[in-house]
Symmetry: C3
Subunit: 345 residues, 3 copies
Amino acid sequence: VKAHTLAELASRFGLDLRGDGERRITGMGSLERAGPGDIAFYAGPRHAAALAQTRAAAVILRAGDLGACPSAALVADNPHAAFARVAALFDRTPHLSSGVHPSAVVDAGARIAPGVAVGPACVIEAGAVLEEGVQLGPGCIVRAGSRIGAASRLVARVTVGHECIVGRRCVLQPGAVIGSDGFGLARDGEGWVKVPQLGRVRLGDDVEIGANTTVDRGALEDTVIEDGVKIDNLVQVAHNVRIGRHSAIAACVGIAGSAHIGARVQIGGAAGVAGHLTVADDTVLTAMSMTTHTIAEAGVYSSGTGIMPNALWRRSVARFRQLDDLARRLKALERRLDGVEGDDR
Amino acid sequence: VKAHTLAELASRFGLDLRGDGERRITGMGSLERAGPGDIAFYAGPRHAAALAQTRAAAVILRAGDLGACPSAALVADNPHAAFARVAALFDRTPHLSSGVHPSAVVDAGARIAPGVAVGPACVIEAGAVLEEGVQLGPGCIVRAGSRIGAASRLVARVTVGHECIVGRRCVLQPGAVIGSDGFGLARDGEGWVKVPQLGRVRLGDDVEIGANTTVDRGALEDTVIEDGVKIDNLVQVAHNVRIGRHSAIAACVGIAGSAHIGARVQIGGAAGVAGHLTVADDTVLTAMSMTTHTIAEAGVYSSGTGIMPNALWRRSVARFRQLDDLARRLKALERRLDGVEGDDR
Amino acid sequence: VKAHTLAELASRFGLDLRGDGERRITGMGSLERAGPGDIAFYAGPRHAAALAQTRAAAVILRAGDLGACPSAALVADNPHAAFARVAALFDRTPHLSSGVHPSAVVDAGARIAPGVAVGPACVIEAGAVLEEGVQLGPGCIVRAGSRIGAASRLVARVTVGHECIVGRRCVLQPGAVIGSDGFGLARDGEGWVKVPQLGRVRLGDDVEIGANTTVDRGALEDTVIEDGVKIDNLVQVAHNVRIGRHSAIAACVGIAGSAHIGARVQIGGAAGVAGHLTVADDTVLTAMSMTTHTIAEAGVYSSGTGIMPNALWRRSVARFRQLDDLARRLKALERRLDGVEGDDR
């Protein structure tokens, strides 16, 4: 088991130590479940009771919360971020040793920087470039002319289509597909002609792409995901979409073609965003919401109706279909009552 | 063509035979489409007309329905389950012969029980354990320290992340990802720090996971899917979710982080369940419903509004935005009418 | 850089040339962004301003629009379709050279036509048939007894299950799964018995299947996708579904078991279609709509409510739960007012 003393963690991450610096930390935990070798973090007053009762060896918290802490502590301006950085020490995600596994198929025309790890059953096509420190887990495919930026990690079974660009320090989870064809169709009589998708996908630095998420290549120009964007599992990003820096997109979201999502936007799970519109910087779209027009002003936007007991729901839905009629009848009533009241006067 | 006599099926599955036991069964069919070599099943009165006209060689049904059956029959307490068991005899899903395919990459530190089949292009990392009778179809990846329980089958191109646990007799469909990183982010200035996901995924026995479904590993504790849970395609199970035994989850569902789904819960297609809530045992959530709060009591819950002709829908949606106003105007009318009626008295 | 003269394009695609036939075209662009080597197309009056200002070398348009075109032109009855055909000349999607890559695993019992390309890390099982001109990109799996029709292309990491049929000139994007098991379950006490899925998937000719899309095999009969159907990414097609010719289905759609979708149907993104129903030919279902009953007559159908500012949404949703009550109160008011007005007379 890996262990780090509190003093070591304090110095490594620039945190102030309160308590016994020799205390050994062997893992991470929540306030509720941390054991005597674990370090936890305190996010704020909602967790005050858990803090008071924690069995953690130490807690990462703000200076102002030290008084309430029953254990040793590391003081941070941003306890959650500090916790994330400490947790990286205990991450057991397999780290591949550098070199190309003999079962990988690497085209002679690919360029692989020193220190790159290419795992078993990977395929790297001609003209692909893997910069320093890139890690390709098992079964990854990097197609012709693509570039994977320094220190990026393709966890396993990731596909990067031809001529796509992945920035530095990106993480692509298993099954992610970057650079599939956009859904471009031209009507032709009763059927369709496929419109070749000539653009690329460009991911900035520090982008994360979730498991089985798909990012289509652009039709003519590129699909662009800017620095620091985080995308969860099973998300669809259609052709020519642009997502601004540091936006975060939860699982099962679909973003249709040519939508432009601003910076620092947050999109909840299973939300849908229609094509050819703009979402302002700093907008929040809640889970399962349906955005069909441009959002010009930041704010929290929502749609959908939550669950009800089935019988009540059936009645409500029936009434929903009558809504226009109900509104007209209400208007008529108001006029009639105006008349009655007029008569009375 | 495989063939089994009715007498053989009756004895093998403990069913009562009515009719000619020498009749040869060569396949399965629905009541409507079964041919003279097929066996069908009768689910109940809604299918009475189909039963009367069936051309099936034999029908699996309850004893009480024998009178209405024009053909030979096998009598079962649960005809659908009996049909499922008989159907397994006619399943042509490729069965891999035991042994490790020469193209598979198996780390010397993996433990492979006798009788295990590892198909072409599989990758098994150090410390992984494949118990007796495990079948790995082509292109599967089992990462460091994972365990696949006895008689489980990874159909093809399945990814099991490091240190995850798959129970016995599980079936994982193609493209499934078990143990991708949860979507853990800590705010850091304008952007995000990735929170390492230190937990695992634990699947119980007899679990089925659909094609391209993703199950994230826990952040600190594990993501847990209990015995007998069945999950369809393209489902997202986020970190720290717990799903109780024998629950069934249809395709395209998203379950957000730390949601606790009870036992024997049924979730319809494309439903969404928010994080940090509890769904009571035996609850039914209908298709496309949105659950944003805890369900303390079992029942059928629904949300959403079904399709309407587009013009009516546009009017209804416009009125939906006025609903609060409409309700206030209705209240005002009631007061005014109270006044008018009071005057009249 | 590839280049084609305008005269060459006109003769190759049967289009009328207006302007300098020697002009060299080196790429495709939108009217707004095309540079002096690019060809663009004009879709109609909504783009009139862009046409007037385009810097494109040439524009593909209808004869009637020639007067408004500031550049050379190619005249087509269907400019969008002509543009798609021209664009294919500039498509840089990797074309595999014919032959079987040494890292591919091809069973001796598979039949591979001359001219077929099988890329690295592919697996072809016994009894599989790859017809003339088939292209299998890296990491594709074609299981026992399946058939891939002439000139079809499996882009990368596609899985085709046993005994499935893919027609001619199909394109299957990365991560697509054809022939996973349908979600067939029979109740058995507290839990479930898996119902073996004995049917196949049959794709017609000219079908496109998107990245990470899943198409389940039929339970008894086949799941059928007819000629010319185009399906986007992350779509779920359940067992026994039938989709009629030339239908187009956008990303994130789910179609439940035994639904029959007509011909030339268009389904918007993230829409859901329930099982055991029929959707009439030429129907349009808009994005995120929920179809729970048969659509007998073609038309545009919609459901859902779009986003609102969160505070307004909260009030609207609260009122939605009171809708039945509001409607009853409205009815009561009408009766009371009838009474009042009656009194007045």
